[in-house]
């Protein structure tokens, strides 16, 4: 395997690059094409315009103002996904440690119960959750979404963090304990700092999970008070299918946070997946 790769592989790489990038390019091009050129069938607009982005960032929300709605929805998504990630990461990091290092009754059963919940299809829970949210007056609120999303993201954080702890050497904790550190102290002062790469990867995956969620948001939100960006985009895709330009601009902005995160933490993904799945 140490020998140089054949040039054929680079041809495959080039094909891969085209297949991956072409749809992205088309999204960006559509977002800067004026409406008349969008429907005229030009591959590159003669008069590219950033007007849609300006509208999204400046226009007021409310009524049928799609651009303004996109901005608010994106802000909602940022708040909901960040809070969800933070809560899930904290409770998941603590719980994950229990699974990785402690021997207690029903350990496996509890772990599988968390995993099973992660795999439950949202459609199976959404009917009664809707009724419960209505009773608690949490419909169309960001808090309602955060609570719901935490139930999806927490099992995931628990699982990946647990596997990450397993990959850390246990000797350091034991040494700290011998030196008089309490169990919790060893976790907070020794284990968590060591687990930083795992925490970063888990946070990234958790954020993406929450950012991408659609069904709960579709059913629980109705106004710009809590509507998230996937729902806003889905709604306007149906309504204004020929003015794709604005949907495209919203799509570019909606794709930015997850794409940047994924690029930034790309090297964690493979190790995160190894820890998160194969090791079990």
């Amino acid at each position: 395997m140490r020998n140089r790769p054949s040039p054929v592989l680079y041809i495959f790489c080039a094909v891969l690059a085209v297949v991956v990038l072409a749809p992205f390019a088309w999204l960006v091009i559509s977002s800067i094409s004026p409406s008349n050129e969008l429907t005229a069938g030009t591959l590159w607009p003669d008069h590219p315009t950033l007007a849609r982005y300006r509208d999204i960032f400046t226009s007021s929300a409310g009524g049928d103002n799609v651009a303004g709605t996109f901005r608010i929805a994106m802000l909602n998504s940022l708040i909901v996904a960040s809070c969800t990630t933070l809560i899930s990461l904290v409770v998941g990091s603590l719980g994950g440690y229990a699974f990785a290092r402690l021997r207690f009754r029903f350990r496996r059963t509890t772990l599988f119960a968390f995993l099973a919940i992660y795999m439950l299809p949202p459609i199976a829970l959404v009917i009664p959750l809707y009724l419960a949210m209505a009773n608690l007056q949490l419909l169309d609120t960001k808090l309602g979404l955060i609570v719901t999303y935490c139930s999806i993201v927490t099992p995931f954080c628990l699982w990946t963090m647990s596997n990450f702890y397993l990959s850390l050497p246990i000797e350091l904790e034991d040494a700290a304990r011998v030196d008089g550190c309490s169990r919790l102290g060893a976790l907070l002062r020794i284990v968590l700092p060591l687990a930083r790469p795992g925490i970063v990867a888990t946070a990234m995956f958790g954020f993406l999970l929450a950012w991408d969620e659609f069904l709960y948001s579709l059913i629980f939100t109705s106004t710009t008070n809590a509507k998230t960006i996937p729902v806003a985009i889905a709604e306007f895709t149906g309504k204004f299918s020929s003015d794709f330009g604005l949907v495209a601009a919203g799509g570019v902005l909606a794709a930015l946070p997850p794409v940047l995160l994924a690029l930034l933490f790309q090297r964690y993904i493979v190790s995160g997946l190894t820890a998160g799945s194969v090791k079990g």
Binding site: R2, S30, L120, P128, F214, P230, A234, V270, S277
Partner: protein, 316 residues
């Protein structure tokens, strides 16, 4: 759900299985571990089970009643009739067929393409980070944006696909073609994650094994089938089951690309459940459908957990 899940844990291992080779001062440390575990797990358990347990039970109850918006207040007990109705519902079988087709085809194509991409990314290429970053991109694109984008690419009048091919096909205009075009969009996005799973597996295979195979005079294809694939089996199994579960639950991309149409041709089980519960307001029937999905996903998940346990036994 929790019922189905406790099974593999208790049935398979009557005694709690200890991890081998982790020497530790048992007499001192084990005492109080249970309490500390409860302390650590309580917040997570509250967050998760607090939200999920109630709906799981409530869905089961709703599925046993005839609940629809036409009769507010009085909900007659329906027994299992919502469940039997599913199987006598003539429009359910095509939906099941679409779901099976979507799941099988998308998972199979993603596995084959993903394997190719993983092998490519595992080669000692120059600018490795660049190719890997490239492959990450579709996976990071939100599902709804992906769906909206492909719907626009396929647009019969203005779509870039027709412009490039010089055709005027209504790609999402006929049922079977539309289903396949949705699969293409799904494959474009999800091959990435399959590739990364397999790449993670490939990286655990020591290079010496390749070298040994080369020394033994094995061809590249032979090495792949006889050395790589067997060692990659756990990764392949895990990614297959995960993708199968995901594909079986597919909803978002159907919602935004076709809305289940044309002529119900792209309706999947999850989408059909959504329609029955929220468009037709048949909550009891929707809940029964939802529970059947839970049972199906539960079966898949048990299979998945069994694979994980086997991996652990094999020391992977």
């Amino acid at each position: 759900m929790s019922q189905t899940q406790t099974k593999p844990a208790t049935a398979g291992s009557p005694a709690p299985r200890q991890k081998p080779a982790r020497p530790r001062p048992k007499a001192v440390v084990v005492r109080g571990e249970g309490k500390f575990a409860v302390f650590l797990l309580l917040p997570a358990a509250l967050v998760v089970f607090g939200v999920v347990l109630y709906p799981v039970i409530r869905t089961l109850l709703i599925s046993l009643y005839k609940v629809d918006s036409a009769m507010p207040g009085s909900y007659p007990f329906a027994g299992l009739s919502n469940y039997t109705k599913v199987f006598s519902d003539p429009s359910f079988y095509p939906v099941l067929g679409h779901t099976a087709y979507f799941t099988l085809v998308s998972t199979a194509v993603e596995l084959v393409l993903g394997m190719g991409v993983a092998l490519l990314l595992n080669a000692p290429l120059r600018f490795r980070w660049l190719w890997r970053s490239l492959v990450v991109l579709p996976w990071a694109l939100p599902t709804i944006v992906n769906g909206a984008l492909w719907r626009w690419i396929y647009n019969g009048q203005y779509g870039v696909l027709n412009q490039l091919l010089g055709t005027d096909t209504q790609w999402l205009g006929s049922p079977f073609l539309a289903l396949n075009m949705v699969i293409v969009a799904d494959v474009w996005k999800n091959t990435s994650i399959v590739a990364f799973f397999l790449l993670a597996g490939l990286q655990t295979i020591p290079a010496e094994l390749h070298e040994a195979a080369v020394v033994d005079g094995a061809s590249k294809l032979r090495t792949f089938w006889s050395v790589v694939v067997p060692l990659l089996k756990p990764s392949i199994a895990v990614v297959l089951v995960l993708r199968t579960i995901e594909a079986f639950k597919v909803f978002d991309i159907i919602y935004v690309m076709t809305g289940g149409g044309p002529a119900s041709g792209t309706q999947t089980v999850a989408f059909y459940t959504y329609l029955q519960a929220f468009s037709n307001q048949l909550f009891g029937y929707g809940a029964a459908l939802a529970y059947l999905i839970v049972i199906a996903v539960g079966a898949l998940a048990m299979f998945y957990l069994r694979i994980l346990r086997q991996n652990q036994l094999a020391g992977v």
